[in-house]
Symmetry: C2
Subunit: 244 residues, 2 copies
Amino acid sequence: MRTLKLTLSYDGTHYVGWQRQLNGPSIQQHLEEAFAPLCGDVPSVVGSGRTDAGVHALGQVASLRVSFDIPVVNVQRALNMRLPADIRVLDVEEAPDDFHAQFSATGKLYRYRIATTEVVSPFDRWFVWHAPEPKNVGAMRRAADVFVGRHDFASFQGRDSDAEDTVRTITRVDVRDTGRELVIDVEGDGFLRHMVRIIVGTLADVGVGHHAPDAMVAMLEARRRSAAGRTAPAAGLTLVAVHY
Amino acid sequence: MRTLKLTLSYDGTHYVGWQRQLNGPSIQQHLEEAFAPLCGDVPSVVGSGRTDAGVHALGQVASLRVSFDIPVVNVQRALNMRLPADIRVLDVEEAPDDFHAQFSATGKLYRYRIATTEVVSPFDRWFVWHAPEPKNVGAMRRAADVFVGRHDFASFQGRDSDAEDTVRTITRVDVRDTGRELVIDVEGDGFLRHMVRIIVGTLADVGVGHHAPDAMVAMLEARRRSAAGRTAPAAGLTLVAVHY
């Protein structure tokens, strides 16, 4: 048996998300079905974590155990021939036996794009949140700094989350203003369901003056979803990289 | 009566092209219908020229005569509220009475993207031609230089073209190699049907050694479509700007 590590990019627009679901096509399902001719059966492929419906990936990572001995470069070609063009396998590598895309992950980098121009380019329409209201970027940066560190993010998880441990360490929340977009990079050791989208939605609330930057402290302490701001739309979010 | 000049960007993937046609939705039809509530009737909107099905625009220009006196900024907003998100009005200006998007145009800039990597990013899939075969970029540049100047481009027009005058002046054919893409900018005073796509297809043929760069001279002299190379796919092409 070999363990393979796959790096994937996908345009999540037309999918219910990473994870197999009954209500529509998922990235995981397409990938598992693309493996079937190589494996002789539909294998189970593990992802580093779920991405929501409409969320994109530049560097999602998946792993699986296989018994075939096809070279990795041929595995990559065979998968890309079977996968739809909005899912691409960027790399296939041999990994240690105990490599597991989810449990071996030590961190993740997400990027969120907020289009601040009055008109959104047709080419960006599935990849940004259009929120043109003028924003105080300095206030957003001060609020962002509050999230950095080890905190209980119970207030910043979707209501249907079932995580028992809601403590995570965030190493970076950068807000970059390109003049046309606010690009927010969020990096940490792990993320709760909707956590990046709630952080971004809350930062946008701060930007338009709904909350002061130092209100983030009380939001974290409250440990309930209703204390934090809104959930930013899925389309603006991209999983950039998974660290191991 | 006022004359309005509109600058538009569109993702041409889901359209039969700029021009109204019976076999599917066009940019022109959407734009004319978006104007209807302002004009009281569906007006005729003139474009700088057709773009083919699947061809994109960063700066297509259109014009029309209107009798309403709504400020241009409100016209832009009203149009963008009615248009689908893959068509955006970037600018609306007052133009001289005799301005005509097609007849007043003095030149156009097109850009063509050839993806040369083995794997195409999901985010580029509708915007590039995937042609990963190794290419001699120096030979492509030498061939490109032959097109610059005033020439009869009868060999470089689609078979169904009905242009009487096939002489055009090309001011620039640049081939840029980004390592992942060949980006070809073609600028000139006007273009025949499919002309940019046939020039690009022929340059790609040169790149893989099917023709020598100096074969372009005989191709131009032949004045028949069969003398030139293939037609590059529509998806890689973008109308960048129209000059007046």
